[in-house]
């Protein structure tokens, strides 16, 4: 916000100061409310097309050229649908849930920097804020499922809440590794720490042994927290009809979709910030041109993470409920704790090559140990008739 303020102040020197202040206040808000929902609309289209290609189909290509107007058509269709509220539903809660579900997703973007200095609020506790706000979606999901007065909705809600709470722990722990390495909770500073090196790339945390492990953990946790495949048990169609949004239709249903996608994109944005160097990349730096390049880098990384999510969704089957909990508590959480120790090694072992060897060895050994311990949970390879 300060950067925008200064930029505006220099550019429009002769307008009243309060106008500049208000503008500097409103621009980030407008950005968050404009750009990310637009990316959401685009993502729905890209996701459908990419899933189609993954399954050797075309995907939507009827509305407009290459189907680019499909999100518009979807939106119109869903706006015109009838809004049905079950007679026995808890009306107020039923109404409130879809409103609340969009809020956490949008709040996370407040602390995601898109260019040098360009972050809506540079909180000193940015990472913690993003993770804490991300948890709040569980409440909205529970409200939705409970207010619908439907067994399947309630089951979906209970699954959603249990899943979000369980996967919150390893996700936060994976974030703690980055916080320890960067020595700060501010997202802007974390991104700045990842600059420099070869082409602004080599210092990204994902290119460290602990960073790679943390990245994988964080991506898995992010998928689980935004209830995307392969962790979409709360809305498993084949088991629960639609989970917590079974009893929603029309615009409220659209809000649920939007909240889910926004949360997923927010987690992708936080992942980019923490592990993939945020806006850092060749050519990004201060100044207008550098900022634009940085923005380009950030959004292409975000797009890459979204594509990774889509790829995973198109490939992996859904987990079973017991496997889900076991995976979080028996594999991810120990690995995250081990990862924190690995960051400690990284910090204190002075010759870098030694730190590389020790950290990598430590993580690999623990990974193998964990695999061995969980061997009973790993399924035997099965032969299918249609290979």
């Amino acid at each position: 916000m300060e950067t925008i303020y200064q930029l505006l102040h220099v550019t429009f020197a002769n307008v009243p100061a309060w106008t500049v202040q208000v503008a500097a206040f409103l621009i980030p808000i407008a950005f968050i409310f404009g750009v990310y929902p637009a990316i959401f609309a685009l993502t729905t289209l890209v996701e459908r097309k990419a899933l189609g290609r993954i399954q050797n189909r075309y995907g939507p290509n009827r509305v407009g050229i290459f189907g680019v107007l499909q999100p518009l058509a979807d939106g119109l269709k869903i706006l015109l649908k009838e809004d049905i509220v079950p007679r026995v539903a808890d009306k107020f809660t039923h109404f409130l849930a879809p409103v609340l579900i969009v809020v956490p997703g949008l709040l996370v973007y407040l602390v995601v920097p898109v260019a040098p200095g360009m972050v809506a609020v540079d909180l000193k506790i940015g990472v913690l804020f993003a993770l804490a706000v991300g948890t709040m979606s569980a409440i909205a999901l529970f409200m939705a499922g409970w207010a619908s007065r439907n067994k399947f909705s309630l089951l979906g809600a209970v699954r959603a809440v249990a899943q979000v709470v369980s996967y919150e722990v390893p996700t936060v722990m994976a974030g703690v590794a980055v916080i320890m390495a960067a020595g700060t909770l501010s997202t802007l500073t974390i991104v700045q720490r990842q600059g420099g090196g070869i082409l602004n790339i080599s210092n990204w945390y994902v290119f460290r042994p602990w960073g790679l492990v943390g990245f994988v953990l964080f991506v898995i946790g992010g998928l689980a927290e935004s209830a995307r495949c392969p962790f979409d048990l709360p809305e498993a169609e084949s088991e629960l009809i639609g989970g917590y949004h079974t009893e929603y239709s029309g615009f409220k249903f659209a809000l649920f979709q939007m909240g889910e996608y926004l949360a997923g994109m927010a987690m992708a944005g936080v992942t980019v910030t923490l592990f993939l160097g945020g806006y850092m990349g060749p050519g990004s730096g201060p100044g207008l041109v550098g900022s634009l390049i940085a923005m380009l880098w950030f959004f292409s990384k975000l797009a890459g993470m979204i594509m990774l999510n889509i790829w995973i969704r198109g490939t992996w089957p859904r987990l079973r409920v017991d496997q889900l909990m076991g995976f979080a508590w028996k594999v991810l959480l120990p690995l995250a704790l081990v990862n924190i120790v690995a960051v400690g090694f990284w910090h204190f072992l002075t010759p870098r090559p030694l730190a590389w060897v020790v950290t990598t060895g430590w993580l690999v050994i623990w990974f193998l140990v964990l695999t061995k311990c969980n061997a009973s949970a790993i399924l035997e390879k099965r032969e299918y008739r249609y290979v």
């Binding site: 808890d90 809660t93 909180l123 000193k124 506790i125 913690l128 804020f129 993770l131 804490a132 706000v133 948890t135 709040m136 569980a138 409440i139 529970f142 409200m143 409970w146 209970v158 809440v161 249990a162 709470v165 919150e168 700060t184 909770l185």
Partner: protein, 168 residues
């Protein structure tokens, strides 16, 4: 800023009142969440943003969910308390207790010179680094004690809740 104080206070008080008076247990928890968020907002207003975030993370994200699960595991959730508990003798006695306590506390608070204390000036956010340093420097024993307490509480909760299952 003054307006923020009054709005947030209203939200917190509303949440607290609804949390202890509503009939529907799940509504109670939702009101309690409102109260927690109000308190978190107060922390942000008091420039303790680390505490505010911790409040959201722990109370909204964990404790409220825990209570919701406890309700799911114990009750058939809706309309169990019945209207007679509300606005009955008990309710009035409770209201009287609350009013008496509030009035007494108010008198005690207002009689103290501290009550008119104003903040010294607009200060920066509190640093998380300071809290962290203090935690592992001066208060490390307390920190470890809290860690042990949490572990013990975790194990204790599991043992208590599992007991009956093992018997049967």
């Amino acid at each position: 800023m003054n307006i923020a104080f009054w709005i947030i206070s209203a939200v917190a008080v509303l949440g607290a009142v609804l949390a202890v008076t509503l009939r529907n247990l799940v509504h109670c928890v939702l009101a309690l969440i409102l109260f927690f968020i109000g308190i978190a907002a107060h922390y942000f207003l008091l420039r303790a943003d680390f505490l505010g975030t911790v409040q959201i993370l722990i109370y909204v994200g964990a404790v409220a969910v825990l209570i919701l699960f406890a309700i799911m595991l114990t009750h058939n959730v809706t309309g169990v308390d019945g209207p007679k508990e509300l606005l009955g003798v008990k309710w009035w006695s409770g209201a009287a207790i609350a009013a008496t306590l509030a009035i007494l506390l108010k008198k005690a608070i207002l009689s103290d010179p501290l009550a008119t204390l104003l903040p010294a000036g607009d200060k920066a956010q509190s640093s998380v680094a300071e809290i962290g340093k203090a935690l592992v420097a001066g208060w490390v024993v307390s920190l470890e004690a809290i860690a042990i307490l949490l572990t013990a509480a975790l194990i204790g909760a599991v043992v208590i809740a599992l007991e009956e299952i093992q018997k049967s």
